[in-house]
């Protein structure tokens, strides 16, 4: 059995349920004649092997408890938005959703990581009709949400590609260029947001 023990199938169900709930939040916005909340979303359950790797890296015992409780990103959903203000709208509706509570927020948009990474991370505590590791039913499950713009998402793809390429010539220079690129993309995001606001004021 994997590090997820008997919960592996449950995690897949949780992922689908939470994705559906977010899609529903989006439909509600459209019904109110508001623009869509996001461009697209993608979700995944972390593979058991990368979860084991993470537990080892963090010096956690290789137990299902570590995988589901100490690590809180077994289930992850990335919400990719068109504009920065859409991220704020997503945050608003998630904070007010009755099916979850936000247990942690990390804002890497107003305070980007030194390499230029920008994204807004949330950990949700979701209550679902499945038995959790504490024996509760309905049980509590953690879901990590990453919110970012399309530009931030493209940047993260590039950074990911470089991070996993083993022989990068002159990594310092590439690092500087990546950082510069991140600042330029942030500049474009703000320019688009400002233009959008100027149009609305007219």
């Amino acid at each position: 059995m994997s590090i997820y023990g008997p919960y592996e199938e449950t995690l897949n169900e949780i992922l689908l349920d939470v994705e559906d709930r977010i899609k529903q939040l989006n439909r509600r916005e459209l019904d109110k004649h508001q623009p869509k909340l996001y461009e697209h979303l993608i979700g995944r359950v972390k593979t058991p092997s990368s979860m084991e790797e993470k537990c080892q890296r963090k010096n956690y015992p290789l137990t299902t408890e570590s995988a589901l409780r100490r690590c809180r990103d077994a289930v992850g959903i990335r919400i990719v938005c068109n504009f920065i203000s859409d991220i704020d709208r997503c945050l608003d509706v998630l904070r007010n959703a009755e099916w979850c509570s936000v247990v942690k927020e990390k804002d890497y948009i107003t305070k980007s990581k030194p390499n230029g990474y920008r994204s807004y991370h949330l950990i949700l505590d979701v209550v679902e009709n499945y038995r959790d590791i504490g024996g509760n039913n309905p049980g509590h499950f953690f879901v990590e949400i990453q919110l970012r713009t399309i530009a931030m998402d493209s940047w993260a793809s590039l950074e990911h590609e470089i991070k996993y390429k083993h022989h990068v010539k002159n990594p310092e220079r590439i690092g500087r260029e990546l950082k510069r690129c991140a600042d330029q993309l942030a500049s474009c995001d703000i320019q688009m947001e400002t233009i959008r606001q100027l149009i609305r004021e007219d």
């Binding site: 107003t110 510069r180 703000i190």
Partner: protein, 222 residues
């Protein structure tokens, strides 16, 4: 700095070349206007010093040819004291400065130093204001976070910082940020760029604010 000197009085040319070289400038000296045109086409100079009265091609003709080629190198003319027309003609033909003969070597060297300061220290320097750090060369603005700026945003913020706390009209900003040849620029564009800068200041968590309504005047507050 690399300097091209065109002067046909042999003795004067030799003294000037030697004095400038002693001050660590790299100097090429020629004795007529035609050679100045040819050499300036071949080499990249920081300053061109042109005497007006020269054989083959005089200084004004040489200057006109150099400018007609699109060369924007800083040009200093050497003119005779009496000839006001030469000075006016020279400046109108594209010269940046002139010295009237006889001139002191000290003054020429001081002008070269002043030019160097303008080119290196006052330009593209890092500016600090309150919690902001503006790197004009990289066009990057930093506080808690960092973000890129466009050319216009960089120049506008530079002007704001150098005149912090003063009221600046939309016209002031238009004249200092956009080139006179840019016919599309207007006060509406000033306003849009103020809006960009405001959002960018906010995005990097700076306390610095640009105050003022659409139409101006605007004021930068730390």
């Amino acid at each position: 700095m690399r300097i091209l000197l065109a002067e046909d009085e042999e003795q004067l040319a030799r003294v000037l070349k030697m004095a400038m070289e002693q001050n660590n400038y790299q100097v090429d000296a020629v004795d007529n206007g035609q050679k100045a045109v040819e050499l300036s086409q071949k080499n990249a100079y920081d300053v061109i010093i042109l005497d007006i009265m020269m054989p083959v091609k005089n200084g004004i003709e040489a200057l006109k040819e150099i400018r007609a080629r699109g060369d924007r190198t800083y040009v200093m003319m050497l003119t005779a004291m009496a000839e006001e027309d030469d000075r006016v003609n020279g400046l109108d033909s594209g010269a940046d400065d002139y010295l009237t003969k006889p001139f002191s070597l000290k003054e020429l060297l001081a002008r070269l130093r002043s030019l160097e300061r303008r080119a290196t220290q006052y330009n593209g320097d890092d500016l600090k204001f309150a919690d902001l750090h503006l790197d004009s060369n990289e066009q990057v603005l930093e506080s808690d976070n960092s973000i890129s700026l466009s050319r216009e945003e960089t120049r506008m913020l530079e002007y704001f910082i150098l005149n912090a706390g003063k009221e600046l009209t939309a016209e002031d900003l238009l004249n200092h940020v956009w080139n006179a040849s840019d016919e599309e620029a207007d006060t509406e564009e000033v306003w849009i760029n103020i809006a960009y800068l405001r959002q960018k200041l906010q995005s990097i968590q700076s306390d610095v604010k640009i105050l003022g309504e659409k139409g101006g005047p605007y004021i930068l507050k730390g």
